[in-house]
């Protein structure tokens, strides 16, 4: 487990985090980015890179962000093609229900 993208990313998808990630473990869903919990090396480079402050560390996670930690685990269990590097994988194009059901941004 690792760094976690949370709702501040929804419909923003800035992707600065993808560029910063040294191991290319941040995958694009449809409305949000997802960090692969098994591929993340906990280096923390993505967190300051995010202009939306959407990324938190699992070990210092705000309580309301917990569903997004679980969502990341389930997302990658569901979409096995999202592994081995985000660049090669490309956008997955689908989201976890937690994200799908989230409200839109004004």
């Amino acid at each position: 487990m690792a760094y976690v993208v949370t709702d501040a990313c929804i419909d923003i998808l800035d992707q600065s985090c993808m560029e910063e990630c040294p191991v290319d473990c941040i995958y694009q869903g449809d409305r949000m980015m997802y960090i692969h919990p098994d591929e993340c090396v906990d280096c923390g480079k993505c967190m300051p890179a995010c202009p939306s402050d959407a990324i938190h560390w699992e070990h210092k996670l705000p309580a309301d962000a917990v569903p997004f930690r679980d969502a990341a685990v389930e997302f990658f269990e569901e979409h096995e093609q999202a592994s081995g590097g985000a660049a090669e994988c490309g956008p997955v194009g689908i989201d976890h229900p937690v994200v799908t059901q989230a409200g839109g941004r004004a």
Binding site: P22, V41, D42, G44, K45
Partner: protein, 717 residues
């Protein structure tokens, strides 16, 4: 942005990570009202590029931990009880000076021994900080061969102490062979360069007994039986020469001993190597063809590559390969071991070998347990030990014996530390040491080509002092008046490098303090091909397939032994690369394997740096409780399931951890990561209790990957 120490407002101070890691990250410390509030990477650093790592992102947890040792302590309970009282620096220094003087007078100064390594690797406070003091004292010389000592001997015997490939040049590599190196856990900032090379078409291959994070990310993982790496490298050379895949022009101009090497490796066909390594012969053939054909190719070797009986020969063979295929011709081709050699560090000014008494005895730190218990015959015995920059109870092999030695009532032990480590628990006197934020230092790197300067960002906490100050105080109290003991940190920094060397042109102390880091004055990564036309720092100036340096016999690079060249191992060394099988394996030692059938590997942890950070809460959360990875076949045979507490043991000792049944390890191999503390172990022992003290073939390297154990379920009381 300022680079100065400010106390009353917010400032960003440029620093450098002190941990024993190749990456030496550029750190930016934000200080508010005298307190460090954030540690971050410097985004402008071309190699570390704004990143730190899971260990150092949380460095402030270390600096401000309530467990820090901030005042001198004196033992009040039995040895190892961890019971101490606070004393003043004056009392501590008086007691140390009195005991050192008394022991020196009674038993001779050799009864005193230092014990240290790279708890911090700054040039001032790191490897050599105590050397002038102990040389002056006439103490036993400590040989410290934890890391790359055998590799260095072998590398120097083959291609000399060259920087090798600039890691940043690896974006130009067409074939990247990562050998015994878990880059993603222990050399993280190199990975983006490998990933970039891969985008440009390079193939990434990992040779490792374990499917590490890095192996998982590679294009091809070759799981190899522990300790058989030389067999694979020799068979690669066999195929390359047999099939004419050599760069004959490069060989003719820039190498010596090709014909002898060709004769030698003719003995090592892939079919033979397949038996040794467990890698099918066709894959060995393919690896050799791909490696030779995809120029420039590069081999990145990790520290672990030397940790078996024939570890030196592994590095000998691997260092021959690039010359054979002309990999050195272009940027990104060759071998990457320790680019440290590019730095003109003024080692002599730091360790002062001229102050050593000729003929002074040398004791290797792996044998500390034997030395302290009297199992090693020493006259006089070791009656005082001073530990700094190290936690030998966790990182030295033969833990049980070492603990017995440290428990001796008649042993006077001083430990300088940031925390009450497993070693400090046994001290008579504990001295408080600063963290990197509280001290100035200047840094080489063994993973890139930038000199770094660490500006102190906060005042020392409590009464903690940098190691430099510790030895100034101790020398003064001992009455040592030599100028070397009067040097301020700034004066030491002025002596730390040969500033007139070509590599240092354009770099000054002032520019470093302001900028934090500067690239050595060597060609840029796109053009850096130091051996395109030979120019190797060997006796012949060429790659020495037949090593002239081998004629002098086995040796430890003096840097790892306080500059001393006395009592070198000296045993004869075959000048050609050859195969030395592992000492403890099912094939080579069936009798031992009947009792202990599993090869234990003990790599570095992801969240700890050796034993540093092993006591901090957040790091422990990431690392989780110590485990042993065991293949499902071996687990089933022993009725072991994941999560179950198991005992690992051999004739040397035992420890218990939780099992993790995992196909990422080969059958017959078990893996437990280094760094958990002994006091946190239910068995009050760690993997160091089963690891051997036996040396590898060259440079007195450790053989931590050459260890047989048995694993059994614990019967918990």
């Amino acid at each position: 942005m300022t680079a100065s120490l400010e106390k009353t407002s917010s400032a960003t101070v440029r620093g450098a990570c002190p941990q024993d890691c190749p990456d030496t990250c550029a750190m930016m410390v934000t200080v508010r009202d005298g307190k460090a509030v954030e540690v971050a990477g410097d985004p402008d650093h071309p190699f570390t590029r704004g990143g730190l790592c899971v260990k150092v992102d949380n460095y402030l947890d270390r600096v401000y931990s309530t467990d820090r040792v901030l005042f001198p302590l004196r033992r009040t309970g039995p040895k190892g009880s961890g019971k101490f009282e606070r004393i003043t620096w004056d009392e501590a220094l008086d007691e140390i000076a009195a005991r050192f003087t008394e022991i020196s007078a009674q038993d001779g100064p050799e009864a005193i021994m230092p014990c240290s390594y790279l708890g911090t690797q700054g040039i001032l406070n790191g490897l050599n900080v105590g050397d002038p003091f102990f040389a002056k004292l006439g103490a036993t010389i400590a040989e410290r061969t934890y890391c790359d000592s055998g590799s260095c001997t072998a590398y120097a015997m083959t291609i000399g102490d060259t920087a090798g490939v600039d890691p940043e040049s690896m974006v130009h590599s067409n074939y990247i062979l990562i050998w015994a190196c878990n880059v993603m856990s222990t050399n993280l900032h190199l990975w983006p360069f490998i990933a970039e090379a891969r985008k440009r078409g390079a193939k990434v291959v990992v040779v490792d007994p374990v499917k590490t994070r890095t192996a998982k990310a590679a294009d091809w993982h070759l799981p190899i039986k522990p300790g058989t790496d030389t067999a694979l490298a020799l068979a690669m050379m066999h195929v390359i020469i047999r099939d004419g895949l050599t760069d004959d022009d490069y060989i003719a101009r820039y190498t010596v001993g090709f014909d002898e090497l060709a004769d030698r490796v003719a003995q090592y066909p892939p079919e033979w190597a397949a038996e040794e390594t467990g890698i099918p012969a066709e894959e060995i053939e393919r690896l050799a063809r791909e490696y030779a054909g995809a120029q420039p190719s590069v081999i990145r070797i990790g520290v672990a590559v030397e940790r078996h009986a024939g570890g030196g020969q592994t590095v000998r063979a691997l260092s021959c390969l690039p010359g054979l295929v002309g990999a050195w011709r272009k940027p990104g081709g060759g071998i990457l071991q320790l680019p440290l050699w590019a730095f003109p560090v003024n080692w002599g000014a730091m360790m002062r070998p001229d102050m050593l008494t000729p003929g002074k005895r040398v004791v290797n730190q792996f044998l500390l347990g034997e030395a302290l218990t009297g199992e090693m015959e020493l006259d006089p015995p070791i009656n005082a030990l001073m530990v700094y920059n190290s936690n030998p109870v966790v990182v030295c092999p033969d833990q049980d014996k070492l603990v017995r030695g440290l428990s001796r009532d008649d042993l006077f032990t001083v430990v300088s530390e940031q925390f009450l480590t497993d070693t400090a628990q046994f001290a008579d006197i504990v001295l408080p040491a600063t963290t990197q934020l509280e001290q100035a230092d200047i840094m080489f790197s063994w993973g890139h080509l930038y000199v770094s300067y660490n500006n102190p960002s906060i005042e020392p906490l409590g009464e903690a002092v940098p190691n430099t100050e510790l030895f100034r105080r101790l020398a003064a109290r001992m009455g040592f008046t030599d100028p070397v003991f009067q040097r301020t940190d700034d004066e030491m920094i002025a002596e730390a490098f040969d500033w007139t060397a070509p590599a240092m042109q354009g770099i000054t102390v002032e520019s470093l303090k302001a900028k934090g880091w500067q690239r050595l004055n060597v060609p840029p990564p796109d053009a850096y091909a130091p051996h395109a036309e030979g120019g190797f720092p060997t006796a012949s100036g060429k790659v020495e397939f037949v090593s002239s340096a081998a004629a002098g016999g086995n040796f430890v690079v003096p840097l790892f032994r306080q500059g001393s060249n006395d009592f070198q191992p000296g045993d004869p060394v075959d000048p050609l690369p050859h195969y030395i099988p592992p000492r403890e394996s099912v094939r080579t030692n069936p009798e031992l394997a009947a009792k202990y059938p599993l090869n234990l590997l003990t790599p570095k942890s992801h969240a700890y740096l050796n034993s540093s950070f092993g006591n901090l809460e957040v790091h422990r959360k990431v690392q989780k409780d110590p485990t042993v990875l065991i293949n499902p076949i071996d687990a089933e045979e022993r009725d072991i399931t994941s999560g179950q507490r198991v005992r690992l043991f051999n004739d040397r000792g035992s420890f218990t951890v939780a099992a993790k049944v995992d196909k990422s390890v080969l059958p017959g191999v078990v893996v437990s990561s280094l760094g958990g503390w002994r006091k946190d172990s239910p068995s009050l022992s760690t993997l160091a209790s089963v690891n051997p003290t036996t040396f590898a073939d060259l440079g007195n390297a450790p053989t931590f990957s050459d260890t047989l154990v048995q694993v059994e379920p614990c019967v918990d009381a």
